[in-house]
Symmetry: C2
Amino acid sequence: MSGETSVKASIFEDHLWLRGPSSGLRPTLGQIGLQQFAPYLINSISLSWVTHLASALKAHDMTTTQMRALAVLSISSPVTINELSQFALTEQSTMSRTLDALEEQAFIVRKPRPEDLRVRDVEITQAGRDAFAKVWPTMYDLLIRMFDGIDSEEYKAFTATMHKMMSNVRKHGIGSFQRDT
Amino acid sequence: MSGETSVKASIFEDHLWLRGPSSGLRPTLGQIGLQQFAPYLINSISLSWVTHLASALKAHDMTTTQMRALAVLSISSPVTINELSQFALTEQSTMSRTLDALEEQAFIVRKPRPEDLRVRDVEITQAGRDAFAKVWPTMYDLLIRMFDGIDSEEYKAFTATMHKMMSNVRKHGIGSFQRDT
């Protein structure tokens, strides 16, 4: 290791959250360990999920972004392109192209909002709902396999921690995808 | 919602883990809710982390993949390209190009292994360790902000759940990035 501090790994475990960022007593990554460094685990699991699903979606002739758009719209429709991009974790420019493809397949329609014709709302069609309903079992079954051996209580605790993190992301302005253009 | 089943949202919360994937009683995504669908939260947090860090790394003239390679090598060196790619969550082809750039900056060296000259080991240099040590405070401080209000016990429970998921990823063969080429 780089030996930049003399803090021991055990101190990370016991006192990590008592120290602020400017205390000057940062443990090294080696002292924490890659498997205890939460962002590494999150990125790794995210990558496995996305990669596996992208490959399964190919059988349905659907991209990840198309699936995400339909998933959001299956819950809430109509929405603006801006709302849809945010919820579907996709940049607006990518979402625009995705909506072109979805409109061609008649899975969505874009309509000017009567009160403000400059705003176009995105609405899912029944064909779009049916298309998402066809891929949903794959997603749900993947969820079940990923959480194999994890009970409902642990699942709730896990998502509760992530809700705190999402709130920190907003509170501390931790970069959303939209800043990266 | 698509109305494909008559299961209520509350049942998802209570009985999700009692039902197998083939029970035919899948709740819809709308019944679960996007904010209770763990993969959505994981992907969202991963995206915020990666995007924020990528932007911070620019000030150090470093890409995400370069940072990941140096991070892994700061813990374990020398390693093979294959090991490095796996731990750094990066495809081998991308990692090869990344190593070219890192070698140019004298942050790593590639050496044929004496026992088997066909294998080339990747080794971090002191300059490489120094370069990672310069970006590490940014990463650590981001971690602290992301886990603001989350104590050590909750952090441990959170990573423990992710370890179970990583084990499920391996056990159920849930796609690693390397399948996606």
